[in-house]
């Protein structure tokens, strides 16, 4: 019984982490699908999302959910600006240059956050600090909220992509850029929209996760690196791949931290990637060679 409880506790942790990772990875994979750019600045958007929520809540006393919506809007605008000002002018360059530009943007956002809010670790209060007990299993409310909200966002995103015309234009662009242009899809509009969605998802993920973690300028670095691991595992540009990959990494980390070593839990995702890519350079879910 004790073993089962511990096991279920890790499942809960895995779902929490997996939900957050999936939301971040979804934004990254959508952007990659459209522009074929690994957006290293995505982690900085995540960080910005947490800080904007934090700022709205502590400085203006805004309600938690409103703060989350506000930060989603702010980061969506930020992300769209990044597309217009940085990635759009570089769309004809291949490989190295957009990557370096993304790194420049990341460094800029981190330094700016540090300038505004300082380098200290901040704690973000959530109104949901209680604990739920279910048959001997204890679960902080915030964790349950994260799981519910993250999976709700995934369902909403899925419906948006599959059931609306606007959403289909994103899928069409990701599948074939020329083909999408031929049927009259405005590439600029889709790129901006994709960046806005990616930014909003990152901000929501950050605002959800911040209350059980800390807020600081470098908080995005580890998350974005793991999100990259996830989309490589799941296939760059694949939406289901990002969700499944996020859950795999989430579970690997929570179980690894508990059963192997909590000191090395941050390495687990990367070791998993190195091992998998050594055996299968094409990733887990993709066909063909890279």
């Amino acid at each position: 019984m004790d073993f089962l409880q511990q096991f279920l506790q890790q499942v809960l942790n895995g779902l929490t982490l997996g939900g957050i990772y999936s939301l971040v990875a979804l934004g990254l994979t959508l952007v990659y699908g459209i522009l074929h750019v690994p957006n290293f600045a995505h982690g900085a958007f995540y960080m910005a999302g947490a800080f904007v929520s934090f700022h709205l809540m502590t400085r203006y006393g805004v309600n938690y959910w409103l703060a989350m919506a506000g930060s989603a809007a702010v980061v969506a605008v930020l992300s769209t600006l990044a597309e217009r000002l940085v990635f759009h002018p570089l769309r004809h360059h291949s490989g190295l240059h957009p990557m370096i530009a993304a790194i420049g943007m990341m460094l800029f956002l981190e330094a700016t956050a540090q300038l505004i809010w300082g380098a200290d670790f901040q704690r973000m209060q959530s109104p949901y600090s209680g604990i739920v007990e279910l048959g001997g299993l204890t679960a902080p409310v915030q964790r349950l909220l994260i799981i519910a909200a993250a999976f709700l966002m995934m369902v909403v995103l899925h419906l948006f992509l599959k059931r609306t015309v606007t959403g289909s234009t994103i899928i069409a662009m990701a599948q074939n850029r020329d083909g999408a242009s031929l049927v009259g899809i405005d590439a600029n509009r889709v790129a901006m929209l994709t960046f806005a969605i990616a930014g909003a998802l990152a901000a929501i993920a950050a605002s959800l996760y911040a209350p059980i973690n800390l807020v600081y300028p470098a908080m995005g670095n580890l998350v974005i690196t793991k999100a990259f691991v996830i989309i490589i595992l799941g296939g760059m540009g694949s939406v289901p791949g990002a969700i499944v990959g996020g859950l795999i990494i989430g579970f690997a980390e929570s179980f690894g931290a508990f059963y192997i070593s909590s000191d090395y839990k941050d390495i687990i995702a990367f070791v998993l990637l190195v091992v998998i890519l050594s055996v299968r350079p094409q990733g887990l879910f993709t066909k063909g060679v890279r």
Partner: protein, 341 residues
């Protein structure tokens, strides 16, 4: 300008480096310059795999830290003489780089970069967490200063400056020989097109791996020098921001040239000196600067100069060709990216 190119220009640069300690009366300036030289050496390595071979390795600072820790651990915990530890720093870094390069170079383009980003993180985390070997976040303190012949110790800023400078000169010269050799041409062929290079009979896997190993060897040696120069080590050296910094140096100076990374790695720290009031916040300025440079000056200072020169040469060749238009003259000039300083 013409007179400053080639051997004369390089000789002048070396002379400038030699007289620098006599021009500045300030130990602080010497320290800044020596640190810049060490990072310039590492940047030369990064430039080989990224600028010449076209594979953007984001684990570079991890390899530099590896070399530094080899020296730190061997000298402090095992009392190995500095120079033996220093020689091992490059060798061990290359040995560790062999399996890592073998695995990571099977991936192409973005996948390689992301994979190496993860490798870099693993290296950082291992250094930070493996306390019994690396002293963890406390770091390694009291690394002995490099010793010379006959009991001479390089512990004065000026002596250290010349030591580091000598390594940079040798490193730059060897790199020059590498990139102008057939091997260097091979790397550039791979950068310009994987498929084309392969169809010329170039063994992609072997040459990429060779470039990778040479590159991390430079990083390891630079790390070893860093350990002997700063004499204190922390996991921070492995942080990806150092790789990003070296990328910036390389990009500003001119990627895929020898002079460019040197110019960037030595010039940028001086620029930061003048922006010292920013220190922690320098990326508020440098971040947008990187973006603007990538968009408007993608070939960097040296690359743009070479492209300008090539354009002028091509225009002059055209002028010459017009009177003799009876037979077609081949006026294609080398492009900026394909040449090197």
């Amino acid at each position: 300008m013409k007179y400053l190119e080639g051997r004369i220009g390089w000789t002048l640069l070396v002379l400038a480096g030699l007289v620098f300690p006599f021009v500045t009366g300030n130990d602080y300036h010497l320290t800044v310059m020596s640190t810049a030289y060490i990072f310039a050496l590492a940047t030369l390595g990064l430039n080989l795999i990224t600028g010449y071979t076209g594979q953007f390795n984001l684990a570079h600072s991890g390899f530099m830290a590896l070399g530094a820790y080899v020296v730190g651990i061997l000298t402090v915990d095992h009392q190995v003489p500095f120079w033996i530890a220093f020689a091992l720093s490059g060798v061990i870094t290359a040995i560790v780089g062999l399996p890592l390069g073998f695995v990571s170079l099977r991936l192409k383009g973005h996948y390689f970069s992301i994979f190496t980003l993860c490798v870099g993180y693993i290296m950082f985390l291992v250094i930070e967490k493996w306390e019994s070997l690396t002293h963890g976040t406390v770091g390694i303190i009291g690394i002995p200063a490099p010793t010379g012949f006959g009991g001479y110790v390089f512990d004065q800023p000026r002596a250290l400056y010349y030591l580091v400078f000598a390594f940079l000169v040798v490193g730059a010269f060897v790199m020059h020989r590498i990139v102008t050799s057939l091997l260097g041409r091979t790397f550039m062929a791979i950068r310009n097109s994987d498929e084309l290079a392969e169809s010329l009979g170039i063994n992609l896997a072997r040459n990429k791996l060779l470039s990778f190993l040479l590159s991390v060897f430079y990083a390891g040696l630079a790390g070893g020098l860093y350990a002997g120069f700063v004499r204190f080590l922390g996991p921070d050296l492995a942080g990806t921001h150092h790789t990003f910094e070296m990328t910036t140096f390389m990009l500003i100076g001119g990627i895929g040239t020898i002079l460019g990374p040197l110019l960037g790695a030595i010039g940028m720290p001086w620029l930061s000196q003048h922006l010292q009031f920013l220190q922690e916040y320098r990326y508020v300025v440098f971040g947008p600067l990187i973006i603007v440079l990538v968009i408007f000056v993608p070939n960097g200072i040296v690359g743009s100069y070479l492209a300008w020169k090539a354009r002028r040469a091509s225009n002059e060749a055209k002028k010459l060709a017009v009177p003799a238009a009876a037979k077609p003259v081949n006026t294609t000039a080398p492009q900026g990216g394909a040449t090197h300083a």
